[in-house]
């Protein structure tokens, strides 16, 4: 393992410290654990809290600021934060209008956030949550834990955050968050695995001519392995799954081509080029495009494509002002 680190056990805390030092105008770190909150506390409006394992940078600390999150909680690399950490975060940002937790659908995240919510309710704090599950690689059924929450979660942060900033009630902020979840789908692929610092070796092995299709964001293998193909073909493969899952025809969409951390922008743009052409061919209008590292998996060479189906309100909230380290909307 070759990484710019000091000690595998200090990766998370030193990352958070470094992030806060980079963005002192936006971020403040709580004394307990790796919990980041807005430098200036939001008052009288619903507070948003999210988080997950470390290794997804700029998520989640990068989305803390005006118009998005109030607090981000970072667990160990790819490991959900613990309930006491989340609880401290909730206490730090809670207002009388309540707190909405944005949780990605991974068993550990859901359980830890649920336990934190139980602790907060015991103290009289109003807490509710939404669970994002945009990944179409995994089928949703009664018999599984359902689809994973991946890059589409960033749209939930943005849009629910904008709604909260308007002064909406907890019920309304939750409802708009759920509307984003109902309208966003994602599919990803990887060309090379990543190495969790504490593990010291790559999560899986892949031959030079192979790719993993249907990856999540925790360095785990995909749902299947295939032969590597050209970017245009990969774009078709990913979009076919997304478009088969939700009817986007005749609609305006927001596109996110998200890098997994080890994919150059050049390649993300090449895939985005194909994505736009395919959508145009199929009569789907692109309203906004986001290309870059939004929800990464350390240094994984991979990417995902997300499509968010827009209506008037979602469009307006997507365009609303946001000022965070990793997402600025003037």
């Amino acid at each position: 393992m070759k990484k710019f680190i000091n000690d595998a056990g200090l990766v998370e805390s030193q990352m958070v410290e470094g992030m806060v030092k980079a963005y002192p105008k936006h971020l403040r770190k709580l004394d307990c654990g790796n919990v980041v909150v807005r430098a200036r506390k939001k008052e009288g409006k619903v507070a948003l809290i999210s988080g997950g394992g470390s290794g997804h940078e700029p998520a989640h600390g990068g989305y803390v600021g005006t118009g998005m999150l109030d607090c981000a909680v970072a667990g160990a690399v790819f490991t959900s934060p613990t309930p006491d950490q989340i609880f401290e975060g909730i206490k730090a940002v809670a207002t009388d209008k309540g707190v909405l937790m944005v949780v990605k659908n991974y068993t550990g995240d859901v359980m830890n956030f649920e336990m934190a919510a139980e602790m907060a309710r015991d103290e009289g704090i109003l807490v509710d949550h939404v669970v994002t599950n945009d990944d179409v690689a995994v089928q949703d059924s009664l018999y599984t834990t359902g689809r994973r929450g991946v890059a589409g979660t960033v749209f939930v942060h943005k849009i629910a955050g904008a709604k909260a900033e308007q002064g909406a009630s907890l019920e309304e902020v939750k409802a708009i968050g759920q509307r984003v979840i109902d309208n966003v789908r994602t599919m990803g692929a990887a060309l090379a695995p990543c190495t969790v610092p504490a593990a010291g070796r790559p999560g899986f092995e892949l031959a030079d001519d192979e790719m993993e299709i249907g990856i999540g964001i925790h360095g785990e293998p995909g749902t299947r392995r295939g032969k590597l193909c050209a970017a245009d073909e990969i774009a078709v493969m990913l979009l076919d799954r997304v478009l088969a899952d939700l009817d986007y025809s005749g609609r305006k969409v927001a596109v996110m081509v998200n890098g997994a951390g080890g994919t150059p922008l050049m390649e993300l743009f090449i895939v985005n080029n194909a994505v736009h052409d395919i959508l145009t061919e199929r009569g789907i209008g692109v309203y906004r495009t986001y290309v870059g590292n939004y929800m990464t998996s350390i240094e994984m060479a991979g990417l995902s494509v997300s499509l968010l189906r827009l209506d008037d309100e979602l469009r307006e909230l997507l365009d609303a002002r946001a000022d965070t380290p990793a997402f600025i909307e003037a």
Binding site: T79, G108, A199, G219, T223
Partner: protein, 208 residues
Amino acid sequence: MTDSKKILTILSKINFRLQENKDFLTGLDSAIGDGDHGINMSRGFLAVMEKLPQMEDKDIATILKNVGMTLVSTVGGASGPLYGTAFMRAGAAAAGKTVLQGADFLALLDAAVEGIRQRGKAEKGEKTMLDALIPALEAFEAEHASAASPRRALERAVDAAREGVEHTKTIIATKGRASYLGERSLGHQDPGATSALLMLEALLESLE
């Protein structure tokens, strides 16, 4: 069967077995999850070990609840809330006991397994720690009912857990991260069921 002092020995033994198998568990998890189960369990039980000196004069219930809280606040992932809840529930079941007889231990194990079942919303056959723990509980209960010694009952429970772990190789995961791999989870033993087996083995060894 066991008292407060013995509980501390058992916890040390569990820690030893988990540290010894840290890389093994992580390897199992790399195949079907995200490869951190050994790392997370190691971190959790090292934190438990740090607290043991303060627990020496505490009662069984307090010790077990403390272990549960420590695991919840240090392990993270899914294993933290699951094992944490198990130890906390076991602690609640041990309230007022200064010595655990076979029947008490059965109640403890039952409460722990029920806690995991509720927290994880899971059942047997979904390729999770319950595939080791439920057969172990059933075996212990059956042996206990036929008036076998606690040691004998625990031996059978460990055998049943071991068979349960083997069985996880033959089934597809429908809970937890392994479920996202679908059929690719076939052929791999479940890391959670394996860590549960390691704990039961450590418990048995401590009684020897």
